[in-house]
């Protein structure tokens, strides 16, 4: 035990003796939070819409002004030339082209079904779907307006089934609230993952590990001493991140802070265990970074931070059972947004603990004092 303390002290001394790293460790997460949280959002602030109005009746103008009044749409241009409109879509200036054919007003007036056509730029399928959903919403509203003005009774009949919905746990559908717990997890992990791994490989490159390997130090002692400082730093980063979230973004925090730290601590052990395992197999810092990037990209992109796990193929979900970031993402969001308690997340915590134990055991086992 005393040996571990000597080793841990040495690691801390070395980490903070590097003036740049010593500052970056705490500065980088703050900058990351300030940039990433407001930047990564799926909300659509304004869709540029181009309207081809071949009808030019009060009905078509009514629809246009309805769209104009919606905060989601900005009318880029009204034109009668289909070619010009397609040009705008093609050059990426317009997101939607809405074609109101002549006869639209007449059809509405005579009670025949009126048709309009929307072409949506679907390069980004997510924004396309959202724009489409907003657009249909506006048109449905407009439909209802017409129905009410024409025949109030029919309107009542239409409105017989009313749906009111309420979004739970993130009522305003605020993406900041959704992203922040995830980003918090990633920044806690990334720093420790990279630094711990590089630290270990550097000892090999410089040759200092040779002097350690010839002492009676135990393998678990050395690996533990490599982990502890980055575990502590990771948790301090988490605290800083939470403070930034609270002060700058006013994120809600429903659950127990202690539970959040517990989850992150277990997660950090898993991440550091993996980093050290990779570093025991790497001869140079380049080799380590190469493999580290491979794992980080896969783990982060598959973690469910951007895309829900449920929409991934089944095989991908199976892979995610070994992905510590996926567990952390779920745990963080459940605790922070939903206020989940220990018993709600114990399954995830248990799985994460198992992963942490396995990765750490692999690192200790793979570290060779005798070649």
């Amino acid at each position: 035990m005393r040996t571990i303390l000597y080793l841990i002290k040495k690691e801390f001394l070395q980490i903070f003796r590097d003036k740049f790293i010593g500052k970056a460790i705490f500065g980088i997460p703050i900058i990351q939070m300030l940039i990433l949280v407001p930047a990564i959002t799926f909300e659509i602030k304004s869709s540029e819409i181009c309207i081809i109005d071949n009808d030019r009746t009060s009905e078509s103008r009514g629809l246009i002004s309805k769209l104009d009044g919606s905060p989601f749409f900005r009318i880029l241009q009204s034109t009668s030339s289909e070619k010009e409109a397609n040009e705008l879509l093609y050059s990426d200036k317009a997101d939607i082209v809405l074609h109101i054919p002549s006869g639209f007003g007449k059809d509405l007036g005579t009670g025949r079904p009126a048709k309009i056509m929307a072409s949506v730029n679907a390069i980004n399928s997510m924004t396309a779907q959202l724009s489409w959903a907003y657009l249909s919403g506006v048109i449905r509203d407009y439909n209802l307006d017409i129905a009410i003005s024409g025949n109030p009774e029919a309107a009542n009949a239409m409105a017989a089934i009313g749906i009111t919905n309420r979004y739970w746990y993130n009522e305003m559908l605020n993406y900041k609230h959704y992203m922040l717990p995830g980003i918090l997890g990633i920044l806690v992990a990334a720093i420790g993952f990279v630094l711990a791994g590089l630290n270990m490989v550097k000892e090999k490159e410089v040759g200092t590990i040779e002097q350690i390997n010839v002492t009676p130090v135990r393998k678990y002692q050395f690996i533990t001493a490599k982990m502890v400082p980055f575990l502590v730093i990771g948790l301090i980063d988490l605290a800083i991140g939470l403070a930034v979230g609270k002060l700058v973004f006013d994120i809600p925090f429903e659950g127990s802070i202690l539970l959040l730290f517990l989850g992150s601590a277990i997660f950090l052990v898993a991440a550091l265990g993996l980093a050290l395992f990779v570093s025991t197999m790497s001869g140079t810092q380049q080799q380590f970074m190469f493999v580290a990037f491979f794992f980080m990209i896969i783990f982060i992109l598959m973690s469910g931070i951007f895309t829900p796990l449920e929409s991934m193929p089944v095989w991908a979900q199976k892979i995610d059972m070994a992905n510590p970031v996926a567990y952390l993402m779920r745990i963080n969001r459940m605790i922070m947004l939903k206020g989940s308690t220990l018993s709600d997340i114990r399954g995830d915590l248990f799985a994460l603990t198992a992963i942490a134990v396995i990765f750490t055991a692999l690192a200790i086992n793979r570290y060779r004092k005798t070649a």
Partner: protein, 259 residues
């Protein structure tokens, strides 16, 4: 006087693929002696020292160090030895005191004892004022002396020094050998590799390695007598040159035939 062997090596072989780095080494090192392990660069000295210190596993053969088997109990050996690498390997970004504190701690010495011995050590080496300086700021000679002092800080039974005087000036080399004598006088066995043949004269016994084999082993005086040489250097040249056996020998034989 019956001498007590602290290192016993029988038929040690170490192969890297098809390359034989240590070819059937057998020797003993006795308690308290200064044993010089000589050989040209690439003769296999470092390979052997890494096996003796438990850093590398032998391919075959029997290696006992401080009473423990190098193959099965390398960690037991490590408790009883000190080691100074050929390449300086203390922590450059720590101070002298921090390095000593770390290694003292790893070998299980108490904090007070470490402090006391550190002060003695700094006084002895005459660099008390360097105690809180980063290792990276020290000249090579000081670094080497420090590495040696750290290797014997925990009073091991045997200390292994791999080319300890490589690249240092003659005065520092002399001081270094004074330190080695002082260490041996405390009863610590010193196993030292070198390719400076003048240093071999300072050893109690030496072995000479060439191309993975031990070609001679005895006291410097005995070797000089045996090979009718003025110095160990001459012995070395006599043995190692024509003794560059294998390929080289057949080459010379061919040359003779041509002549």
């Amino acid at each position: 006087m019956t001498r007590n062997p602290v290192i016993k090596v029988r038929n040690l072989v170490k192969k890297f693929g098809s390359f034989v780095a240590n070819d059937n080494l057998s020797f003993e090192v006795y308690e308290g002696e200064i044993f010089g392990f000589l050989g040209a660069n690439g003769a296999g000295k470092t390979t052997a020292i890494r096996i003796l210190t438990g850093l590398s596993e032998p391919t075959s053969g029997e290696v006992m160090v401080a009473g423990f088997d190098a193959r099965r109990q390398p960690e037991e050996i490590k408790k009883n030895i000190g080691y100074m690498c050929q390449k300086f390997s203390l922590y450059d970004d720590l101070t002298i005191r921090e390095n000593i504190m770390l290694y003292g701690g790893i070998y299980g010495l108490g904090k007070a004892l470490i402090r006391e011995r550190t002060n003695q050590l700094l006084d002895r080496l005459n660099f008390r004022e360097y105690g809180d300086r980063l290792i990276s700021s020290l000249p090579l000679g000081l670094k080497q002396k420090l590495a040696f002092s750290v290797a014997v800080f925990h009073e091991p039974r045997i200390v292994f020094l791999d080319e300890p005087t490589g690249g240092v000036d003659p005065i520092t080399r002399r001081q270094f050998w004074e330190m080695i004598y002082e260490t041996a006088s405390r009863g610590i066995t010193v196993f030292v590799t070198t390719h400076y043949m003048d240093e071999a004269e300072y050893c109690d016994r030496v072995s000479i390695m060439s191309e993975g084999r031990i070609v001679a082993i005895d006291t410097p005086a005995e070797l000089k007598k045996q090979y009718d040489a003025e110095s160990v250097e001459e012995v070395f040249v006599k043995i190692a040159r024509p003794g560059m056996k294998h390929g080289k020998e057949s080459e010379t034989a061919d040359n003779k035939r041509e002549a």
